[in-house]
C-alpha cells in the first residue's frame, strides 16, 4: 500500500512536470488565438526548429544560455514569418484556410529540417547533471526541474509583459476588439504579428527545454503539440493559469491511468473526459461563456 502510494505520487510528479511543457506550448496557441483568432497547427515544427537552432548554436561552441537566446530569436522570426505568409492571407480571405496554411508551412519546415539537420534524433547537451534528486522517496531529475522552471518562468515573463507594459496592453486591446483598438490608434496588424512572434519565442524556448528530454529530431514535437492543443482548448484559450493546471493534470493523469489500466490505455481516460467535458462546457474549463448576440 505504501509502495503503491509512493509509486502513484512518483508518477503524478513526473507526469505533472512534463505537463508543464504541454502548458508552455499551449500558451503559444493561446497567444495567437487571443490576438487574431487563429492558432498555428504547425507549432510543433516551430518547437522542433527552435530545438535544432539551439543545438546547432551550441554545436558552434556557444554557451547554453546563448544558444537558447539564439533559438528564441529564431523562434520569433519564424513565428512572424508564419503569420505574415500564411495566416494573414487566409484571414483576409475569410475562410478556415489558415488551418491548412499553417499545416502546410509546418510541412515545409519539417522537410527542410529533415534535409538540413538529418532525420535522426540527436541528444541536446545541457549544463546540468544527469543524476536525479530524491524528495521523500520521489525522484526528480534536474532535467525535469529545468522543464518545469523554464515553462513557468517563460509564461510568467510573457504574462507580466502582457499585463504591465504598454505594448502588452495594446495587444490585449486588439484581442478584445480589433476595430475599437484601431480607432484608438493601435496598429492591430503589428499587434497580431507581435503576438505570433512571441508565440514563436515560446515554442522555440519550449524546444530548447524539452530537447534534452525528448531528443532533437524532425518528429520530436508531433505528440507534444497535439497534447498542447488539447490543453489549450480544454483550459479555454483564455486563461494562462488554467493552462498550467490542465497541463499538469493531463501529464499526471496519463501516467496514473497508464499505471492502473495498462500502458496502452494511458491516454484513453483523458480523451473520454475531454470529449464529454467539451460537450458540456464548450468554452473550456476556465473560458468565459460566450453569449450569442443577434
Amino acid at each position: 500500500m505504501n509502495l503503491d502510494f509512493l509509486a502513484l505520487a512518483q508518477m503524478a510528479v513526473s507526469g505533472g512536470l512534463m505537463g508543464m511543457a504541454y502548458a508552455l506550448v499551449a500558451y503559444g496557441f493561446q497567444l495567437t488565438h487571443a490576438a487574431g483568432k487563429a492558432v498555428n497547427f504547425g507549432q510543433g515544427e516551430l518547437v522542433m526548429l527552435g530545438a535544432f537552432t539551439g543545438l546547432s548554436l551550441s554545436g558552434c561552441g556557444l554557451p547554453y544560455w546563448a544558444a537558447v537566446t539564439g533559438a528564441m530569436i529564431a523562434g520569433a522570426l519564424l513565428g512572424w514569418f508564419v503569420e505574415r505568409t500564411a495566416v494573414r492571407l487566409a484571414l483576409q480571405q475569410h475562410n478556415e484556410g489558415w488551418v491548412l496554411l499553417t499545416i502546410i508551412v509546418g510541412l515545409f519546415w519539417f522537410s527542410a529540417a529533415e534535409n538540413i539537420w538529418g532525420r535522426e534524433d540527436k541528444p541536446f547537451p545541457v549544463p546540468w547533471p544527469e543524476s536525479a534528486l530524491d524528495f521523500f522517496g520521489i525522484s526528480v531529475t534536474w532535467q525535469e526541474l529545468a522543464v518545469a522552471a523554464g515553462a513557468l518562468g517563460m509564461m510568467t515573463l510573457i504574462e507580466l509583459a502582457r499585463r504591465y507594459t504598454m505594448i502588452g496592453i495594446a495587444v490585449q486591446a486588439v484581442s478584445a476588439d480589433q476595430d475599437a483598438a484601431e480607432l484608438c490608434g493601435i496598429r492591430s496588424r503589428t499587434a497580431i504579428s507581435l503576438s505570433w512572434a512571441v508565440s514563436g519565442i515560446a515554442a522555440a524556448f519550449a524546444g530548447t527545454i524539452i530537447g534534452p528530454v525528448t531528443t532533437v529530431g524532425p518528429t520530436m514535437a508531433a505528440a507534444l503539440t497535439l497534447k498542447a492543443f488539447s490543453v489549450a482548448v480544454v483550459a479555454g484559450l483564455g486563461s494562462s493559469f488554467g493552462l498550467l493546471l490542465v497541463g499538469v493534470a493531463l501529464g499526471a493523469s496519463e501516467n496514473i491511468s497508464g499505471f492502473l489500466l495498462g500502458s496502452g490505455w494511458r491516454e484513453a481516460p483523458a480523451l473520454i473526459l475531454l470529449i464529454v467535458g467539451l460537450a458540456l462546457r464548450p468554452q473550456g474549463l476556465f473560458g468565459k461563456k460566450i453569449i450569442r448576440k443577434v
Binding site: 488551418v99 491548412l100 508551412v105 510541412l107 515545409f108 467539451l278 443577434v294
Partner: protein, 634 residues
C-alpha cells in the same frame, strides 16, 4: 470582354455529361494502360474519392475541421475485415464496414456537433486517437499492432480480380458522388448551407441545426466506412498505425486542394493524394508539371506589373512558392528527400492562389467563358393570403425576467398579444426590446417567468421549441444565408410546398425578380424583405419583426408598411419592434413601451404618444436626445 459560348444546356446537365464521360474513360483505362501499378493507383484514387466525398460533408458543407475521418476510415476497414473473417460475403462485408464507421460516427456527432472551430477539431481529434488506441489494444479482436490479413471475398460467388475490383470501386464512387450531390442539392443540403451561415437563424426558423449536422456527419461517416471496406479488400492487410494523424492531414489537404463543397473537388483531391507521392518517381513528368504550375502562378503578378501596380502579396505568394519548388526540383540532386517540402510549396500555391481549390477555380473560369441556360422560374402561387389565421391569444408573457451579470435586461414583463393583433414594442436603445424577443424566441433562457405562444408553452431557451409553438422572427442584425439564393432561402424555410409556393412568398415581398440571386449579392433593404418572407413562409402563429425598417430608404419603408399591413389583414399576430414612429402609429393596434428592462406603458398609439412616463423615458431632461429622436423619426 469575352462574349462566351452558349451551349444551350443547363450547367447541371453539362456537369453530368462530363462526369459520365470521365467515368467511362476511367473504366476503360485499364485496357489501355496496363499494369498492376496503374490499377493500384486508380483503385486507390477511387477509394480515396469515396473517403474525401465523405470528408467534404464536414470540412466543406459544415465548414468544420474534422480530424476524425481517418479514424472512421479505419473503423470501417476493421468492420469489413472482421466481417470477412467471420465469413461474410462482399456486400455484407461492405455493409459491416459502413456500420462500423456509422455507429461510432453518429455517437461522436451528438456531443461534437454542439461545438465549433477549435473545440470541434479537438473533439474529433480525441475521438481519432481514442479509436486507434482501441484498435491497438483490443488485440483479441483486431490483432493489435500486428495487423489483420484478409483475402478479398467473392462477389456473388465470383472471384474479383484486380480489374473487376477496380470497376467495383469506381462504380461505388459514382454512386457515392451522385448520392452526395443529390443530398446536398435537396432541402437538406440547403439547410446545411444555411446553418453554416447562421445557425441562430436556422434554429429560429425551425430548420434545426443539430439534426442536420448530425445527419451530415453520419453521411460522411458512412462514406468513410464504405471507403474503409474497399481499402481493406484492396490491400488485404490492416494495421491501426496506418490510420494516424499523417493520413488525416493528407486527407484534409486533399479536400482543400481539390476544392471544398464539391464532389469534383473531392475527386480531384483524391487523384492528387493518390498520385502525387508517386509522381516524383517520374522526374521528367514531374519537372514538366512543376514548371507548368510555375508558369500559371506567375500570370497574376505579371498582369499586375503590366498595369503598373505593385502586385499584392496574395498574388505574388503562389509564384514565389512555385519558383522555390522549381528551384528545388531542378537543382537538388535527390528530389525524393525534399518531397514533402515540394508538396508543401505546391499546396501553399494552390491554397493561396485558389482559395476554392482546383475545382472552384475551374468552375469559375468555365462560368466566365460558357453561358449555361439558367434554371426556369416557376409561376408563383400562395402568398400572404394563405397564411394561418390564429385563434385565441397569440402570446402571453408572465413576470419574465432576465439578467446579464448585474444588469436586469428584462425586468418582470407581463404582456399579451391577442388574436390577430399587432403590438408595437418601442423604447430607447438598450431598454431590453431585443432581449425580450430573444427570450420569446428561445435564444435566451429566462431567469424566471413564463412564455406562452399560441396556447403552448415552449421549452425555455430552445429556439426550435419556440418555433414549433408557432413563433417566427426576423433579426435586427441581419442573419441572411449568404450562400443561398433568395428562392433557396425560402425553400429551406417553408414547411412543405415547392418552388411555386416559394415564389409566392417572394412575390409577396416584391423580390420575385431576384429569385436566383445569391443573398451575398443582395442589397440591405432586399435582405430585410427577404427575412420577412423567410419568416412568413413558415406560416407562423406569431410573427416577430425586430426593427424591420432600420436602415431602409423612404420608398422601401412605404413598401414595408404596406407589406406589414397585408400580413396583419391576413390575421397573423405581429410583435413589431420599431423606432420609426410613423410605422408604429400606422400599423399597431397597441403599443408597449420598455425602459430599463421594465414595461412602462401599454396602450393605443395615441395614448402612448401622450404618456408622460414615455416622454420622460425618451426625452429625459436632455434636449439633444430629443433632437436625435426626431431625426430618427424622419
Amino acid at each position: 470582354m469575352f462574349a462566351g459560348i452558349s451551349l444551350g444546356l443547363r450547367e447541371n446537365t453539362v456537369e453530368r455529361i462530363v462526369r459520365t464521360a470521365i467515368f467511362i474513360g476511367l473504366a476503360a483505362l485499364p485496357a489501355l494502360w496496363q499494369g498492376q501499378y496503374a490499377l493500384g493507383l486508380l483503385t486507390l484514387m477511387a477509394v480515396y474519392g469515396v473517403l474525401l466525398i465523405g470528408l467534404d460533408t464536414t470540412v466543406g458543407y459544415l465548414g468544420q475541421i474534422n480530424l476524425a475521418q481517418a479514424a472512421l476510415f479505419a473503423l470501417g476497414a476493421y468492420g469489413t475485415a472482421l466481417a470477412i473473417g467471420a465469413g461474410a460475403s462482399l456486400p455484407l462485408a461492405l455493409a459491416a464496414g459502413i456500420a462500423g464507421a456509422l455507429l461510432p460516427g453518429a455517437a461522436l456527432a451528438l456531443p461534437a456537433l454542439r461545438l465549433e472551430g477549435p473545440q470541434f477539431a479537438l473533439s474529433t481529434l480525441s475521438f481519432a486517437t481514442l479509436s486507434i488506441i482501441v484498435l491497438n489494444e483490443c488485440e483479441s479482436v483486431t490483432n493489435g499492432a500486428l495487423g489483420l490479413s484478409i483475402s478479398r471475398p467473392l462477389l456473388f460467388s465470383l472471384p474479383l480480380d484486380a480489374t473487376s475490383f477496380y470497376w467495383l470501386c469506381l462504380a461505388l464512387l459514382f454512386v457515392a458522388w451522385e448520392a452526395s450531390k443529390t443530398l446536398f442539392r435537396s432541402r437538406f443540403g440547403l439547410a446545411i448551407e444555411a446553418l453554416r451561415d447562421s445557425p441562430t437563424a436556422t434554429d429560429a426558423l425551425g430548420i434545426g441545426a443539430l439534426r442536420h449536422k448530425v445527419l451530415a456527419f453520419a453521411w460522411g461517416s458512412a462514406l468513410a466506412g464504405l471507403a474503409g471496406g474497399l481499402h481493406t479488400m484492396n490491400f488485404g492487410y490492416l494495421q491501426p498505425a496506418a490510420f494516424g494523424y499523417d493520413l488525416m492531414v493528407m486527407l484534409l489537404l486533399g479536400v482543400v486542394f481539390g476544392g471544398r463543397r464539391s464532389q469534383w473537388g473531392a475527386f480531384l483531391g483524391a487523384a492528387v493524394i493518390a498520385m502525387l507521392p508517386n509522381l516524383l518517381s517520374n522526374r521528367t513528368l514531374f519537372s514538366f508539371l512543376v514548371s507548368f504550375g510555375c508558369v500559371l502562378t506567375v500570370v497574376p503578378p505579371i498582369r499586375a506589373l503590366l498595369s503598373h501596380k505593385v502586385p499584392l502579396f496574395r498574388q505574388a505568394a503562389p509564384a514565389i512558392a512555385m519558383t522555390l519548388a522549381v528551384t528545388l526540383v531542378f537543382f537538388i540532386p535527390n528530389v525524393e528527400e525534399w518531397r514533402k517540402g515540394i508538396f508543401a510549396l505546391f499546396l501553399f500555391a494552390v491554397v493561396v492562389g485558389f482559395p476554392n481549390g482546383i475545382a472552384g477555380a475551374v468552375t469559375a473560369t468555365l462560368r466566365q467563358f460558357i453561358h449555361f441556360t439558367p434554371l426556369p422560374i416557376l409561376p408563383a402561387t400562395g402568398g400572404i393570403s394563405s397564411s394561418k389565421k390564429t385563434e385565441g391569444i397569440a402570446l402571453r408573457l408572465s413576470d419574465l425576467c432576465k439578467s446579464f451579470g448585474g444588469m436586469r435586461a428584462v425586468d418582470n414583463v407581463t404582456l399579451d398579444i391577442g388574436q390577430g393583433e399587432t403590438l408595437g414594442l418601442i423604447g430607447p436603445n438598450g431598454s431590453g426590446k431585443t432581449t425580450l424577443v430573444n427570450l420569446i424566441s428561445g435564444l435566451y433562457t429566462p431567469d424566471s417567468g413564463s412564455v406562452e405562444i399560441a396556447g403552448k408553452r415552449p421549452v425555455c431557451g430552445s429556439l426550435m421549441s419556440a418555433f414549433s409553438a408557432g413563433a417566427a422572427r426576423t433579426f435586427q442584425n441581419l442573419q441572411p444565408f449568404h450562400g443561398l439564393t433568395a428562392l433557396e432561402s425560402i425553400l429551406v424555410c417553408q414547411q412543405g410546398g415547392g418552388e411555386s409556393e416559394a415564389m409566392g412568398w417572394l412575390l409577396a415581398v416584391g423580390l420575385e425578380g431576384k429569385a436566383r440571386i445569391r443573398c451575398s449579392g443582395m442589397s440591405y433593404g432586399d435582405l430585410r424583405f427577404l427575412e420577412i418572407a423567410r419568416a412568413l413562409s413558415t406560416r407562423p402563429r406569431l410573427l416577430m419583426l425586430d426593427e424591420p425598417a432600420a436602415g431602409m430608404s423612404k420608398p422601401d419603408i412605404a413598401r414595408l408598411i404596406e407589406l406589414i399591413g397585408s400580413i396583419k389583414r391576413a390575421g397573423v399576430p405581429i410583435l413589431l419592434i420599431e423606432h420609426h414612429q410613423n410605422v408604429v402609429a400606422e400599423l399597431c393596434d397597441r403599443v408597449a413601451v420598455m425602459d430599463g428592462g421594465r414595461l412602462i406603458a401599454l396602450g393605443t398609439p395615441n395614448q402612448i404618444r401622450r404618456d408622460p412616463k414615455v416622454i420622460e423615458a425618451y426625452l429625459g431632461a436632455d434636449d439633444t436626445e430629443r433632437d436625435n429622436m426626431e431625426a430618427r423619426q424622419c
